[in-house]
C-alpha cells in the first residue's frame, strides 16, 4: 500500500482492461487518475461509480482485441510503447500523495467494479463509437494559434518567421498554459510553456506574470526610470510587451492590480540597485532573476494575504499549486532557454542531406537527471540522502525537482501551519494543503531557479519546439523533430515522381501514389505545426503513422478518464528565418 494511490483505486482496473501490453513486466505506471492525491478521497470514488456505465460503453472498442488472459496479466498500459518500454521514464502524476492507511479501503470498490465490468462485458455487444475526422479536427484545432512575425517591423529584421502553438487538455480544466509576446522596449521575443500541477492557479499566474518580470529585468536603467516616473505622475505607461494570445488564453482581471504592484516593487528595487553605471544587461542573469523574483513574489503574496477574500484565496491557491516553466528568449541569433522543471526545448536542425536531428536545449529537472539528484543531495544533510528523493520523486511526492509555487516544499512547517490556519476555510478543508510532506526537515526542498542554456542560431537551425512533458512522454525527441521538420518543409521534401524511361505500369504507379498520399494527408489536414504534432502524439500507431481510429478513441475519452491515458499537451513551434540568421552570421 502506498506505492501509488492510483494503483489501488478503481480507475486503474479500467486501463488494465484495455491494455495492449508490453512485455516488460516492470511496473509501467499510467499517468495517475488526478494530478493531485487528495481529491481521490473526496471526489474520485463517487465520480467513478457514477460515471461508470458511460465509460464502459466507450471502452469496449478499446478492449475488443485484447486477450482475456492479458487483461489479468501484466498491468501495463502503454500508448507510447517506444518510450514507455525502452526508457526508465515513468509518466505519471507529477505530484503524488500517499493517503493515510485508513484510506486503504479505497481498494475495495475495485473488486466490485471489476465484476461489474465483466458483467457488462458479456451483456452488451461491442458498440462502435468513433468521432468523424471533422469532429477530431475540431477538437484538435480548438486551441490552435498561429502568429506570423512581420518580416520587418520598422526596427529590425526578425529572425523568427512566426510560431504555431496549440494545446490539448487531459485535465479538466487544463493545467497547462502557454505565452508568447514580443518585447517592445527591448528587442526579441519571449515564448513559454507552463505545466501546472495541483490545479491551474500557479501556471496561470506564471503565464501572465513571468514575461513582465523578464522584460523588466532586461530593461535599461533609463527606461525603468521613465516608466516609474510615468506611474508616479499618472502619465501613460510605455508598453512593454505585445502579447500574442489565443482567445482562450485569459488574464486574471481581479489580480491585475496586485500583480502590477508587485512588479512595480521589483523595478523600483532594480532602479535602486543600479547606481548609474550602465552595464550591458546579461540575458542569462535577467532570466534567472526574473524567475526567482516571481516565485518569491508568489510566496510573499500568499504570506501577506489580501483583504479582498477572493484575492486572498487566489494568491493562496497560486502558492499552494505549482508550475514548471520553459521559456525561450529569441533576439536575432541569440537564443536563451530558461527552464525550470520537466518541460523541454528542442531545436530542429536540418542536416546538409536534408535529414532532421534534434538538439536539446534544456535539461529536465527530475529524477532522471543525475546532476539534479546530486544537487538535491548536496543541498540537504546526509541523513536525508535517502528520503529527499524516493521512488524518483522529491520527498516521494513531486516529480519535477524545480517549480514555481509549491510552497509546501519551500516553507517551513511553522509557516505553512500559520498561513493555513489564518487562511480561508476552503484552504483548511483541503486535505492536500494541510498535509505536510514526510521527512520534511530542512526546507526549502524546491526552487524556481531556472537553468539557462544559450545557443547561437545557425542557418541550419530551422525551428524550436517548446513543449510540456505531455508531449515528450509520448514521443521521442527525434520523432518530434522529424515530424515538424517534414511538416514545415511540406511537399517540397517529397521528390516528385518521374517515369523517365522506366517501365512502370498504371497499377504500380497507382500503388506508389496512394502510399505517398496517405503519408501526406495528415500533413494537409493541419495548418498548424503544433496541431500536427499533437495529432501524431495522440494518434500514432506502432508504425509511426496517424491512425484515425486510435485518434478518435483517445479524443473521445470522457473528461474523468482522459488524464489516465495522456497528460495535458502544450506545444509551441517557433520557426526561424534562415536567411535572416544567415545574414547575421555573415555580418560578423
Amino acid at each position: 500500500m502506498g506505492r501509488c494511490c492510483c494503483r489501488c483505486c478503481c480507475p486503474r482496473g479500467l486501463w488494465m482492461l484495455s491494455a495492449p501490453c508490453c512485455d516488460d513486466r516492470r511496473m509501467c505506471v499510467c499517468p495517475g487518475p488526478r494530478r493531485i492525491g487528495i481529491p481521490v478521497r473526496s471526489s474520485s470514488l463517487p465520480l467513478f461509480s457514477d460515471a461508470m456505465p458511460a465509460p464502459t460503453q466507450l471502452f469496449f472498442p478499446l478492449i475488443r482485441n485484447c486477450e482475456l488472459s492479458r487483461i489479468y496479466g501484466t498491468a501495463c498500459y502503454c500508448h507510447h510503447k517506444h518510450l514507455c518500454c525502452s526508457s526508465s521514464y515513468i509518466p505519471q502524476s507529477r505530484l503524488r500523495y500517499t493517503p493515510h492507511p485508513a484510506y486503504a479501503t479505497f481498494c475495495r470498490p475495485k473488486e466490485n467494479w471489476w465484476q461489474y465490468t465483466q458483467g457488462r462485458r458479456y451483456a452488451s455487444t461491442p458498440q462502435k463509437f468513433y468521432l468523424t475526422p471533422p469532429q477530431v479536427n475540431s477538437i484538435l484545432k480548438a486551441n490552435e494559434y498561429s502568429f506570423k512575425v512581420p518580416e520587418f517591423d520598422g526596427k529590425n529584421v526578425s529572425s523568427i518567421l512566426g510560431f504555431d502553438s496549440n494545446q490539448l487538455p487531459a485535465n479538466a480544466p487544463i493545467e497547462d498554459r502557454r505565452s508568447a509576446a514580443t518585447c517592445l522596449q527591448t528587442r526579441g521575443m519571449l515564448l513559454g510553456v507552463f505545466d501546472g500541477h495541483a490545479g491551474c492557479a500557479c501556471s496561470q499566474a506564471v503565464s501572465e506574470r513571468l514575461f513582465y518580470y523578464i522584460a523588466v529585468s532586461l530593461l535599461p536603467h533609463e527606461t525603468l526610470l521613465e516608466i516609474e516616473n510615468a506611474v508616479e505622475s499618472g502619465r501613460a505607461l510605455l508598453p512593454i510587451l505585445q502579447w500574442h494570445k489565443h482567445p482562450n488564453d485569459y488574464f486574471s482581471k481581479e489580480a491585475s492590480k496586485l500583480y502590477f504592484n508587485s512588479l512595480r516593487t521589483y523595478w523600483q528595487e532594480l532602479i535602486d540597485l543600479n547606481t548609474g553605471e550602465s552595464t550591458d544587461i546579461d540575458v542569462k542573469e535577467a532570466l534567472i532573476n526574473a524567475f526567482k523574483r516571481l516565485d518569491n513574489d508568489i510566496s510573499l503574496e500568499a504570506q501577506v494575504g489580501d483583504p479582498n477574500s477572493f484575492l486572498n484565496y487566489l494568491v493562496l491557491r497560486v502558492a499552494f499549486s505549482g508550475a514548471t516553466a520553459c521559456v525561450a528568449h529569441v533576439d536575432g541569433v541569440d537564443l536563451h532557454v530558461a527552464n525550470t522543471g520537466d518541460s523541454r526545448a528542442m531545436l530542429g536542425v536540418q542536416e546538409e542531406d536534408g535529414s532532421w536531428s534534434a538538439v536539446t536545449l534544456s535539461n529536465d529537472h527530475n529524477a532522471q537527471n543525475e546532476r539534479e539528484l546530486e544537487r538535491l543531495k548536496l543541498e540537504h544533510p546526509k541523513s536525508e540522502a535517502k528520503s529527499v528523493v524516493k521512488q524518483d520523486r522529491l520527498l516521494g511526492l513531486l516529480m519535477p525537482f524545480r517549480a514555481f509555487g509549491d510552497v509546501k516544499f519551500k516553507w517551513s512547517i511553522d509557516l505553512q501551519k500559520r498561513v493555513i490556519e489564518s487562511g480561508p476555510d476552503q484552504l483548511n478543508d483541503n486535505e492536500y494543503t494541510k498535509f505536510i510532506p514526510p521527512n520534511y526537515h530542512t526546507p526549502p526542498y524546491l526552487t524556481a531557479e531556472p537553468e539557462v542554456t544559450y545557443h547561437r542560431l545557425r542557418p541550419q537551425d530551422k525551428f524550436l519546439v517548446l513543449a510540456t512533458d505531455g508531449l515528450w512522454e509520448t514521443m521521442h525527441r527525434q520523432d518530434v523533430v522529424r515530424i515538424v521538420g517534414e511538416y514545415l518543409t511540406g511537399m517540397h521534401h517529397q521528390q516528385p515522381i518521374a517515369v523517365g524511361g522506366y517501365k512502370v505500369t498504371l497499377g504500380q504507379m497507382h500503388g506508389l501514389l496512394t502510399e505517398r498520399r496517405t503519408k501526406m494527408s495528415s500533413v494537409f489536414e493541419d495548418q498548424n505545426a503544433a496541431t500536427h504534432l499533437i495529432r501524431h502524439a495522440v494518434g500514432n500507431n506502432e508504425f509511426g503513422t496517424v491512425d484515425h481510429e486510435r485518434l478518435s478513441k483517445m479524443l473521445s475519452l470522457p473528461e474523468e478518464l482522459a488524464r489516465m491515458y495522456r497528460d495535458d499537451i502544450t506545444i509551441i513551434v517557433v520557426q526561424f528565418n534562415s536567411h535572416v540568421v544567415g545574414a547575421y552570421q555573415n555580418q560578423e
Binding site: 517529397q494 512502370v504 505500369t505 504507379m509 497507382h510 505517398r516 498520399r517
Partner: protein
C-alpha cells in the same frame, strides 16, 4: 458549334488530302448518379431536336460497346454514335494548307509586338520581323491572348487564365485497342478516356486545379511543363476504377499542357469594344478542337457581315469588362471553373469565387437580414432572404433538378409583393445619362431606339435598341429627365456592350455627353399595392395613380433626402416604384422605407421573387429570352415600336418588312399543366417545345408562378414545314391552335401556350377564414 466542327473536319480530309486522324468512334457519357443521368437526359433531348443522333443507354449496353469498362457503379449513359476523334496537330496542318491553297500567307516563328491602332481602328501589326498592314486583326493567341491584348496602347481586356492540364499516354494494350473504340467521358470520375495508338489517352478536370502564369510571365514556347504524378493521382484512381484491367498497362508519359479558362466557362469571341477591327477568339476552356471549327465560322461571319448567323451574346467579348481582368480574380475564378467542367450543372448555380466585388451600399444591411446572393457582372444581387428561424441546405446538397429548398421562402416574398409591399435592391442595373446642349440627344436617341422618345418630360419609355436586322441589341427603359437629358436603364451585363454600341453610333464630333452613372445610384424597387402608402408617407406627396401615373419619373424627396428619382415602374408588371437614390442617401432612404413600411407589412425580397413575378406576367428579359436576333415583333412588343414616329431608326426597314411578311418565330408563354412541382423535374431553359408532337423550338427561361400555381416557360415557337423543315410564318392562329408539350429530360409535360399574360388570375383575394394572427405581425 461542335456539330459544324465535326462536319468540317470530316470534309477537311477530302478537301486537302491531308490525314486528320478523323475517326468516327462515337462517345459514351457515363452517369454514376441519378442526377448525372438527368443532366444527360436533358442534353440528349436537346441534341435530338437539332438532328444529332444520341440515345440514353443502360449500363449493360455500355459494357457491350466498350469491353474494358467497369459498369457496376453506373446508372446509365448517353451514347453519341457520330462523335469523332481527330488529331489536333493534323487538323491544324490541314486547315493551314487549305488556307494556303486559297491564298493565305502564314508567317512562321514571328512574334507580334503589338497591334497598331489609329483613331480606334486597327491599321496593322508590328512584329519582330517588321510591320504588316491590315484592317482586321484577330487575337487568337490562346493563353497568350491576355498579354497580347494588354500590349496594345489602348488595352483590350481579354479575361482568361491558364491552368495546368494533365493527360496520360500509355503504350498499346496487349491486344491494341481498336481505332473505333468509343471515347468515354466519366464526368463523375472527372476523367475522359480515348484510344491513342492502341493504348489509351486519359485526362480530366481535377477538383484542385493548378493555375499557372498568374504573374503574366507566360512561357514563350509551346512546351510541355513538368509532370506531377501526385496531382494526377485522383484521376489515375478514377481511371483504374473505371477500367481495372489497365493495371498492367505500361505508362508512356504524363503530359502537362496548360489550357486556358474563362471566368464563366464559355469561350471569348467578337470585336473589342475599344478598337474597331480588333477581333478575339480565345479561352476555349480546353474544348478548342471541338468548338474551334464552329467558332471560326461565326467569327468569319462576324467580320464579313458585322454579325454572326447565330446569337453568340453568351460568347461575346463584351459580356466582360475591365472589371473581370484582375489577375487575382482570374486565378481564383479559373480554379473554380476548371473543376466545373465535369461538375454537375444544375439550375441557378452561382460562382463562389471572385465575389463581393461590386456591391450596393446596403450590402451589409441586407446580408445581416439573411440575404443570399447571386452575382451578375461582378455585382452582388440578393436572391432571397432566409428568415432567422430557417436553415437552408449546404451548397453541395442544394444542387437539384427538382424543387429547390428556397421554394417556401420565395413564395412568401412573392405573396408579400402581391398583398403588401416588398423592397428589392436592384442597384446592379446599368445606368447611363445622355445629355446635350441642343436637341442632338433626342435626335440621336430617336435614331438609335425603336420607340418614340419625343415624349413630355417626366415620361418613361420602354424601348429596344435595335440593329439593322431589327434585333434587340439592348432592351431598356428611358426616362426623359428634361428636354435635353435622358436617363437610360439597361440590364446589368449591358455595361460594356451598350456603351460600345452607343459610342459607335453617336456622331463623332457632337457635343453629346454620355455618362455611365451606374455607380452613382442605388436602386430600390418597391413592389406591391402598399408601395403607394409607404412613399406618400415618406414624401408628403400624393402618389396615387391620378397624381403619379404609371411610367412616370419625378425627382422628389423621400425622408430627409432630396433629389431621389422616383419612377412608377417595377420591371415586374406589379404596381410600385423604382427609387434611384444617390448613393450617400441609400442607407437613409432604405432605413426610412423599412421603418415606415413596417405597418404596411414591408419585407425584403430578392431576384427570385422578381423573376417569378416577371415571367408570370410574360416580361421577357434581354440576354435570356431575347437577343440580337429577335425583333420586337417576334415577342409581341409591337406597341414599343413606333414605325411612324416621323424619322428613320436603325432596324426600321427590317421591321417594316417583317410586319408585311409576318414573323418566323414567336415568343410564347407556356403554362405547364400536368406538372407536379413537388415530384417532377423542374424546367430550366433549353427544353424542347413540341406542338402537336412536332418540335417547334426551345424554352429560354422558366419560373414557378405562385399565383397560377404552375410553372411558366418562355420560349420561341417556330413553324417548320413538315416536308422541307423550312421555317414558315408563325401566326397567332398557329400558336393558339395547337397542343403543346415541353420535354424535360425526356419526359413530356402538357402545356398551354399563351401569347399574352393571363390577366384575371392576379387579383385573387384571400379567404377570411385563412387569416391567422400571424398575419398581423410585422415582417
Amino acid at each position: 458549334m461542335a456539330d459544324y466542327s465535326n462536319k468540317l473536319y470530316y470534309q477537311l480530309e477530302q478537301e486537302t488530302g491531308i490525314q486528320t486522324g478523323y475517326t468516327r468512334t462515337g462517345s459514351i457519357f457515363l452517369a454514376q448518379t441519378q442526377d448525372r443521368l438527368i443532366s444527360l437526359k436533358r442534353i440528349n433531348a436537346g441534341l435530338n431536336v437539332i438532328g444529332i443522333p444520341s440515345e440514353i443507354i443502360s449500363p449493360k449496353k455500355v459494357a457491350e460497346l466498350h469491353h474494358l469498362l467497369n459498369v457496376h457503379d453506373l446508372v446509365g449513359a448517353m451514347h453519341v454514335p457520330e462523335d469523332a476523334v481527330v488529331s489536333s496537330a493534323d487538323v491544324a496542318l490541314a486547315l493551314a494548307s487549305a488556307a494556303s491553297q486559297n491564298g493565305v500567307q502564314i508567317y512562321d516563328r514571328t512574334s507580334v509586338l503589338h497591334v497598331m491602332v489609329k483613331k480606334g481602328q486597327v491599321t496593322g501589326v508590328e512584329t519582330d520581323k517588321g510591320q504588316i498592314e491590315c484592317q482586321y486583326f484577330v487575337n487568337c493567341a490562346g493563353q497568350w491572348a491576355y498579354e497580347l491584348g494588354l500590349s496594345n496602347e489602348e488595352p483590350v481586356s481579354i479575361p482568361l487564365h491558364a491552368c495546368e492540364h494533365f493527360y496520360l499516354l500509355t503504350r498499346p494494350l496487349e491486344t491494341p485497342l481498336q481505332s473505333s473504340t468509343p471515347t468515354i467521358v466519366d464526368a463523375d470520375g472527372r476523367i475522359y478516356i480515348r484510344n491513342w495508338q492502341g493504348g489509351i489517352l486519359s485526362g480530366g478536370f481535377e477538383k484542385n486545379p493548378k493555375p499557372i502564369f498568374t504573374e503574366g510571365k507566360n512561357q514563350l514556347e509551346i512546351q510541355n511543363l513538368q509532370e506531377d504524378w501526385d496531382h494526377f493521382e485522383p484521376l489515375l484512381s478514377s481511371l483504374l476504377r473505371r477500367m481495372p484491367e489497365l493495371e498492367t498497362l505500361e505508362i508512356m508519359k504524363l503530359v502537362n499542357c496548360p489550357e486556358t479558362f474563362t471566368p464563366d466557362m464559355r469561350c471569348i469571341m467578337g470585336e473589342s469594344p475599344a478598337v474597331q477591327g480588333y477581333f478575339v477568339l480565345a479561352g476555349m476552356n480546353s474544348a478548342g478542337l471541338s468548338f474551334g471549327g464552329g467558332a471560326g465560322k461565326y467569327l468569319a461571319e462576324w467580320m464579313v457581315h458585322g454579325y454572326p448567323s447565330e446569337n453568340v451574346w453568351e460568347l461575346d467579348l463584351k459580356r466582360f469588362g475591365a472589371l473581370q481582368s484582375s489577375r487575382t480574380f482570374l486565378r481564383h475564378r479559373v480554379m473554380e471553373v476548371m473543376p466545373l467542367m465535369y461538375d454537375l450543372k444544375v439550375p441557378r448555380w452561382d460562382f463562389q469565387t471572385g465575389r463581393q466585388l461590386r456591391t450596393s451600399p446596403l450590402y451589409d444591411r441586407l446580408d445581416a437580414q439573411g440575404a443570399r446572393w447571386m452575382e451578375k457582372h461582378g455585382f452582388e444581387r440578393p436572391k432571397y432572404f432566409v428568415p432567422p428561424d430557417k436553415d437552408l441546405l449546404a451548397l453541395e446538397q442544394s444542387k437539384t433538378f427538382y424543387k429547390p429548398d428556397w421554394f417556401d421562402i420565395v413564395e412568401s416574398e412573392v405573396k408579400c409583393c402581391k398583398e403588401a409591399v416588398c423592397v428589392i435592391d436592384m442597384s446592379s442595373f446599368t445606368k447611363f445619362e445622355i445629355t446635350s446642349t441642343g436637341d442632338q440627344a433626342l435626335e440621336v436617341l430617336q435614331y438609335l431606339f425603336s420607340n418614340d422618345l419625343d415624349v413630355p418630360v417626366g415620361h418613361i419609355v420602354h424601348t429596344g435598341m435595335l440593329n439593322e436586322g431589327g434585333g434587340y441589341e439592348n432592351d431598356c427603359s428611358i426616362a426623359r429627365l428634361n428636354k435635353r437629358s435622358f436617363f437610360m436603364i439597361s440590364p446589368t451585363d449591358q455595361q460594356v456592350h451598350c456603351w460600345a454600341w452607343l459610342k459607335k453610333h453617336m456622331p463623332k464630333d457632337s457635343n453629346l455627353l454620355l455618362e455611365d452613372v451606374t455607380w452613382k445610384y442605388t436602386a430600390l424597387n418597391l413592389i406591391g399595392p402598399r408601395a403607394v402608402d409607404v412613399l406618400s408617407e415618406l414624401s408628403y406627396a400624393p402618389m396615387t395613380p391620378d397624381h403619379f401615373p404609371s411610367l412616370f419619373c419625378k425627382e422628389m424627396s423621400v425622408g430627409y433626402a432630396n433629389g431621389i428619382r422616383v419612377m412608377s415602374m417595377t420591371h415586374t408588371g406589379e404596381p410600385g416604384f423604382m427609387l434611384y437614390i444617390p448613393i450617400e442617401y441609400a442607407l437613409h432612404v432604405y432605413n426610412e422605407v423599412m421603418s415606415v413600411g413596417q405597418k404596411y407589412g414591408i419585407r425584403n425580397a430578392g431576384y427570385y421573387a422578381l423573376r417569378s413575378l416577371r415571367i408570370e406576367k410574360f416580361f421577357a428579359f434581354w440576354g435570356q429570352d431575347i437577343n440580337n436576333l429577335t425583333t420586337p415583333l417576334e415577342c409581341g412588343r409591337e406597341s414599343r415600336v413606333k414605325l411612324e414616329k416621323g424619322m428613320d431608326f436603325i432596324g426600321r426597314d427590317a421591321l417594316l418588312q417583317q410586319k408585311q411578311n409576318g414573323v418566323y418565330k414567336r415568343l410564347t408563354m407556356s403554362i405547364l399543366d400536368d406538372h407536379d412541382s413537388d415530384l417532377d423535374l423542374w424546367p430550366w431553359w433549353g427544353e424542347p417545345i413540341y406542338r402537336n408532337g412536332q418540335y417547334v423550338g426551345k424554352t429560354t427561361s422558366s419560373a414557378y408562378s405562385y399565383s397560377l400555381e404552375r410553372h411558366v416557360c418562355l420560349g420561341f415557337v417556330h413553324n417548320f414545314s413538315e416536308d422541307t423543315g423550312e421555317e414558315q410564318v408563325v401566326t397567332a392562329d398557329f400558336i393558339n391552335r395547337g397542343e403543346y408539350e415541353i420535354d424535360i429530360a425526356g419526359y413530356r409535360f402538357q402545356a398551354k401556350a399563351k401569347l399574352y399574360p393571363v390577366a384575371s388570375l392576379f387579383t385573387q383575394k384571400r379567404r377570411k377564414d385563412d387569416m391567422e394572427l400571424s398575419d398581423l405581425h410585422g415582417k
